[in-house]
């Protein structure tokens, strides 16, 4: 069965690369298990599934994967929520946004765009905004997963285009 990576990389079930992916079931299934663990975890530590999905859409857009962003955006169940919509769309946050959310978004933007510029002060900002240690780790794993997924899709896509 096609998964999100196949669809967004343009791999049809008949394609050679689709078959090659199936020869690495630990990569294919392992990626989906990771997706659950960061986007729909059992223990969310107070960062909701909707917030995680909105952040994923934002990060995918930031690295230039519009279709991946749209896929996450379409999963947002809480459609009337202006704050989540702004996050997912990659917009600036409304002035009413709380500092916890502002900190999540700032960190996702920074670590997606330029992880090399991250310092201790950036983790301290998260702590000052009220994030607990489990929340800091959960956020970091979510950010890193979306960046991983984006790279797998981008790489498979160009390889598939060669034909």
């Amino acid at each position: 069965m096609s998964d999100q990576i196949d669809i967004l990389s343009g791999l049809e079930p008949a394609s050679e690369l689709y078959g090659i992916r199936r020869e690495r079931p630990d990569f294919v299934q392992g990626t989906e298990i990771c997706r659950e663990a960061v986007l729909r975890p059992h223990a969310g530590f107070g960062i909701t599934h909707s917030m995680r999905t909105a952040l994923a859409a934002r990060m995918a857009r930031m690295v230039g994967l519009g279709e991946l962003a749209s896929t996450y955006e379409a999963l947002l169940e809480d459609e009337g929520n202006a704050l989540l919509a702004a996050i997912a769309a990659g917009d600036d946050l409304p002035s009413t946004a709380d500092r916890f959310t502002i900190a999540l978004v700032r960190h996702a933007d920074l670590v997606t765009k330029s992880p090399r510029d991250c310092t201790r002060a950036d983790i301290e900002r998260l702590e000052e905004a009220g994030l607990t240690n489990p929340q800091i780790i959960a956020l970091s794993e979510l950010i890193a997963f979306v960046n991983f997924e984006a790279r797998v899709i981008a790489g498979l896509k160009v390889l598939e285009e060669i034909a």
Binding site: E16, D26, C118, V152, L159
Partner: protein
């Protein structure tokens, strides 16, 4: 002429947040921390990530599959992909670990020396150049990786299945670097 080989120093890593303590860890955290091959001493990195055991367990399994799976791309070249990603992301700790593994597996301390001293521009020999260019683009901005860069790998005799392995190796270091470099910093190895 001296033919002294270029060496990369081993480093330690220290987190910016308080890691989970083995004494006070939950059952789930204890189970998660045992996923590592040698579980007699749990590293600060593992104890830091064990704050979220669910994601830690899932990621560790995927990481091991990508870096150690049998067959497919030569393990040394997976390590080179990891090194290139770590160089782009300036993850000094990851770079040192995977530079050393690459040298162990390939003997190519000359390639590592060039990367450490001159960066990723090269020039390298054609196959190394193709790997560096592809992994560099993917690591910097994934949407900028090109068909030509993938074609260059095929032209160097890499099969599509091997390129799929390379994509995953570079991508999983886009993940690992975003943990290691943001959640802590490298330190010199303590000597007694």
């Amino acid at each position: 002429m001296s033919t002294q080989r270029f060496k990369v120093k081993a480093l330690s890593w220290a987190p910016y947040i308080e890691p989970v303590s083995v004494e006070t860890a939950s059952e789930e955290q204890l189970a998660a921390m045992q996923v590592t091959p040698s579980n007699t001493k749990v590293s600060p990195y593992v104890r830091t990530l064990a704050h979220d055991p669910e994601s830690y367990v899932a990621r560790t399994k995927l990481f091991n599959a990508i870096m150690y799976a049998k067959g497919g791309l030569d393990r040394a070249e997976r390590e080179l992909g990891a090194l290139v990603a770590s160089a782009v992301n300036r993850c000094v700790y990851c770079a040192s670990v995977h530079a050393r593994r690459y040298i162990e597996l390939s003997g190519r301390s000359d390639v590592v020396e060039a990367i450490y001293l001159k960066g990723l521009d090269g020039p390298f020999e054609p196959r190394v150049q193709a790997i560096v260019d592809f992994c560099r683009s993917l690591s910097e901005t994934p949407s900028r990786v090109t068909k030509d860069q993938a074609q260059a790998l095929l032209d160097q005799g890499m099969s599509k299945a091997e390129i799929v392995d390379l994509i995953h190796a570079a991508a999983i270091f886009g993940w690992a670097n975003r943990l290691m470099h943001t959640l802590g910093h490298s330190t010199p190895v303590e000597t007694k």
